[in-house]
């Protein structure tokens, strides 16, 4: 490649010169030979008046479409494509093609000269029976023809030799491979001419040469020919054309963004990118694809180097005006943000904003501002209102920014504990924009956000429904992969809480496959930690739960501390729990939900000491008031449950009964299995407490409540919460003993014994409050 060409592109004042057309490769010649056979077929059918099968014509057109857009392939792959189930060629056409190919190689170089005659090419582009010259296929044909015409003799000889090597390698591979002998695929040569080497010798070229060494005179290839592993496209056999490269890069970058699993694996993608860079050195986009690939495997140093290379290669002028480096600065900031370097990202953003203002580039200014807000976790509300007001007129990118800003505002509002009505109002506006402009990924984001908002305000069932909706509709939203991740994580946790451990495990496995790496893997990792912690609490496996807390600490420190405090409370180590809770209370910048839960746990701590005081009641009442204000109904229900237990201990059964009745509905709708069973248990205790000392009444109440307690015991069994199961049996046996029902007492004592032998739990874990 000419060095001066390369320097010209970097010159700031020069206008962009269009690149040269690339040299045709043997693959392209083979495609044209196939096309020629098809057109001959079509012409003969036109002449004879027999109409060609329209299905066949359509499949042939689809096949051509596919071939033109993909990279060059070896003859082996090409032939397999022609005989594949979907694009299966007509037998006669296939035979004619194979015959034409073998004759091409057999008849010497005149065949190539005849082929590149302008008359032959014009025949392909004939108006009545050929391809239209302005169609995609027509341009493809013309590009090959126009370069072939200009070839000098030595170039023609080289081309011919390459073609013969290409053909013979492919034929040998086909003969060795699983397909049957192809008609007309006989080798007319005694030995293969060696392929011409190009100036740049790379390993693959040498491999190709080694494979294509002149064979002995027998035509039957030996099986020691490792020809089935045919050389890849970087030898002279295949070259990337700009259009093929563009299609490949667009497709891969789209996949990397939205569904990373379906993109090529990192190493293979890297190799292909290097091939494209080798073949088309002046293009910018392959460098950027290489950068995205490095980013995907989280290789910081190489990603930075790749980004710099992409910048070096990008044209300095765009549309006859200086482009400036603001986009590069923003991309650098994104790189730093992905790796969590907040300060460096902010510094790069500041520079990007300055450059954008200098060049008057509104789009990049918007982008930089968006990232600035995201990184600093703040959003000036006035700008949101203003942008919502002027949302109607502007172009696509600004509208996307608006919807993003609205979503971000909703997230911040949820974390801070704003009124849900206002948040849903913002979501409604964003839905308006999204639906009018068909932003698919914003729509899926909005659904996931709704699920999160409902969850934060305690309507867990609704939240689970929205998550399920998103997962079911993900075919429509095939682009929203990050939202699918959060929906999977949320729903997996919900299933775990409902006792469906297997389903939860399946969902988390699916999430792990879909999003294998950070930072998108954060959601399912957090979910998994929570699943393990909950399971540990139910089964009294404190060590497992603590380990999961340690893992959670890397992802979300505040939440991890809260979970650890919960475990201590469940374990009845109230001193440790209080220590952690006090530390949490002293932190200022915490999400509203966590603050509420800290208060609740403090309530638990004081309750279970046995040394309760009126302070606890005041604390709980204050918390209840706060929750009512911010409309967190579920947390309020939990507070009521704790209050009920406390009031029972204080000897106020009526009030306790009121409290528990107040909260049962919410807990049963939105709570997990554990909470529901616990609520039932407390309810029965309250019921018996208000029956007072009247023995008959107590007996009647007890007999009525046996079903409820059985259901609770079943629930605890499903969750493997053995301690609680034993608690229920102990309670039943004791109550029946009090009222003198010996048979029932023995029954439940027997159940206790049976369960205890199966699942021995240390005595100290029985009778826990949590």
């Amino acid at each position: 490649m000419n060095l001066f060409e390369e320097l010209d592109t970097l010159e700031p004042s020069g206008k962009p010169t269009p690149p040269r057309i690339e040299n045709p490769t043997p693959h392209k010649i083979a495609v044209l030979i196939l096309l020629k056979q098809y057109i001959a077929d079509k012409k003969s059918s036109l002449d004879s008046g027999v109409i060609m099968n329209p299905q066949r014509r359509r499949m042939f057109c689809m096949l051509m479409f596919k071939i033109v857009q993909e990279a060059d392939m070896s003859y082996y792959k090409f032939h397999n494509l022609l005989t594949s189930h979907r694009y299966k060629l007509d037998t006669l056409l296939l035979e004619a093609f194979e015959k034409a190919m073998s004759e091409f190689c057999a008849n010497g170089i005149e065949a190539l000269f005849d082929f590149s005659e302008s008359q032959n090419i014009d025949n392909l582009l004939n108006e009545s029976w050929g391809v239209s010259q302005f169609s995609m296929m027509g341009v493809y044909v013309r590009r090959v023809g126009v370069v072939l015409e200009r070839f000098s003799f030595s170039e023609m000889v080289g081309m011919y030799k390459n073609f013969c090597t290409y053909y013979e390698t492919g034929v040998r591979a086909l003969a060795v491979g699983p397909n049957k002998q192809i008609a007309g695929g006989i080798l007319h040569r005694a030995e293969t001419p060696p392929a011409t080497t190009e100036e740049k010798t790379d390993d693959k070229n040498e491999v190709a040469l080694r494979i294509n060494k002149p064979e002995s005179a027998n035509a039957a290839p030996s099986c020691s020919d490792a020809v089935v592993t045919e050389p890849t496209g970087s030898s002279s056999m295949g070259k990337w054309a700009p259009k093929q490269a563009k299609v490949f890069i667009n497709k891969q970058s789209e996949l990397l963004e939205h569904s990373e699993r379906n993109a090529l694996p990192p190493i293979e993608l890297h190799r292909k990118v290097q091939e494209i860079i080798n073949d088309i050195p002046l293009a910018t986009t392959p460098y950027f694809l290489g950068y995205m690939n490095q980013l995907r495997v989280r290789d910081y140093k190489n990603a930075l180097a790749a980004l710099h290379r992409a910048l070096d290669r990008s044209p300095v002028r765009m549309m006859s005006q200086e482009k400036g480096y603001q986009y590069f600065c923003v991309n650098l900031a994104v790189l730093h943000a992905t790796f969590g370097h907040r300060d460096e990202a902010l510094a790069a953003l500041r520079e990007g904003i300055m450059l954008a203002q200098e060049h008057g580039d509104k789009r990049s200014l918007n982008l930089a501002n968006t990232w600035y807000c995201l990184l600093r976790d703040e959003l000036p509300l006035s700008s949101v209102q203003r942008s919502v007001a002027e949302a109607a007129d502007t172009d696509g990118s600004l509208l996307q920014n608006h919807t993003l800003a609205l979503h971000f505002a909703v997230k911040l509002g949820t974390v801070a504990g704003y009124q849900p009505l206002r948040l849903f109002d913002l979501l409604q506006r964003s839905d308006n924009l999204t639906n009018r402009n068909n932003f698919a990924d914003h729509a899926s984001e909005a659904l996931a956000l709704r699920s999160a908002v409902w969850c934060a305000y305690g309507r867990h069932e609704l939240s689970a429904l929205y998550a399920q909706l998103l997962l079911v509709e993900r075919d429509r939203f095939c682009r929203g992969s990050a939202s699918v991740g959060s929906a999977l994580a949320s729903y997996a946790l919900w299933l775990q809480l409902q006792g469906e451990m297997q389903l939860s495990h399946v969902l988390l496995y699916r999430a792990r496959e879909h999003l294998p790496r950070m930072p998108s893997a954060e959601c399912w990792m957090i979910s998994q930690c929570h699943v393990i912690i909950q399971s540990g609490i139910y089964r009294c496996r404190w060590h497992d739960a603590m380990k999961a807390c340690d893992q959670l600490h890397l992802l979300d420190p505040a939440d991890a501390m809260l979970q650890r405090a919960t475990i201590y409370v469940a374990k009845r180590e109230f001193f440790n729990a209080r220590r952690l809770l006090d530390k949490l209370v002293s932190q200022t910048q915490m999400p509203f939900l966590i603050r509420i839960r800290v208060q609740l746990l403090l309530g638990y701590c004081s309750l279970a000491d046995g040394r309760f005081s009126s302070e606890t009641v005041t604390l709980l009442l204050g918390v209840a008031e706060e929750m009512t204000e911010s409309q967190m109904d579920y947390e309020l229900a939990l507070v009521d449950m704790v209050l009920a237990q406390l009031l029972l201990l204080l000897g106020m059964p009526q009030k306790a009964y009121q409290a528990i009745k107040h909260c049962m509905e919410d807990v049963h709708i939105n709570g997990g299995l554990y909470e529901r069973a616990k609520t039932d248990f407390v309810f029965v205790r309250c019921l018996l407490a208000i029956a007072g000392t009247d023995a008959d009444l107590r007996k009647a109440q007890l007999l009525k409540s046996v079903d409820v307690l059985q259901r609770a015991a079943q629930a605890f069994k499903k969750l493997e919460a053995h301690a609680k199961v034993l608690d229920v049996y102990v309670f039943l046996a004791q109550r029946f003993n009090e009222i003198g029902e010996r048979q029932l007492r023995n029954k439940y004592a027997g159940e206790f014994r049976r369960y205890y032998t199966e699942h021995p739990i240390p005595r100290e874990y029985l009778g826990m409050v949590y």
Binding site: P16, P18, P19, I21, V139, R142, R143, V147, E149, R150, P242, T284, T285, F288, M292, L295, S314, M319, Y327, F328, N331, V334, R363, S364, T370, W371, L374, S397, T414, S444, E445, A448, L449, S451, A452, V453, C455, S463, G480, A482, S486, A487, A489, S490, L493, L497, P519, S520, I526, S527, H530, Q534, D559, T566, R597, L600, E635, G672, Y674, E675
Partner: protein
Amino acid sequence: MSMIPFFPNLQPSVPNQYWFDMVPVSEESQTTRYEDERRTWRESMKTAATDLQPLGKVLTLPGIETDDEDVVTANDDSEDSDSHDEEDDETNDRIPVTQDFYSADDIQMNDDTSATAP
């Protein structure tokens, strides 16, 4: 007390397409440019060297005045056939000959010994 809200990842995508707003190379125009070049080259072949006269002839145009000694007329053989051009040769207006064809310096026109000896 166990569900936590999972927020989706609210970040714009990594590659910003605006950076790559380059002038799109139209394949059609590139190909037509190549084809036109080829065609004009071919056309030019038809009319190539039409401005050149056969050997020994000069093109007379109203133009620059030159010395008579620079211009050499053809030898005796061609004079017979081109006698009607003699009149043109007498005019003063001649264009200087170029080096593309033989001049008298290169070939001994009036030499008795010729290359093709009988």
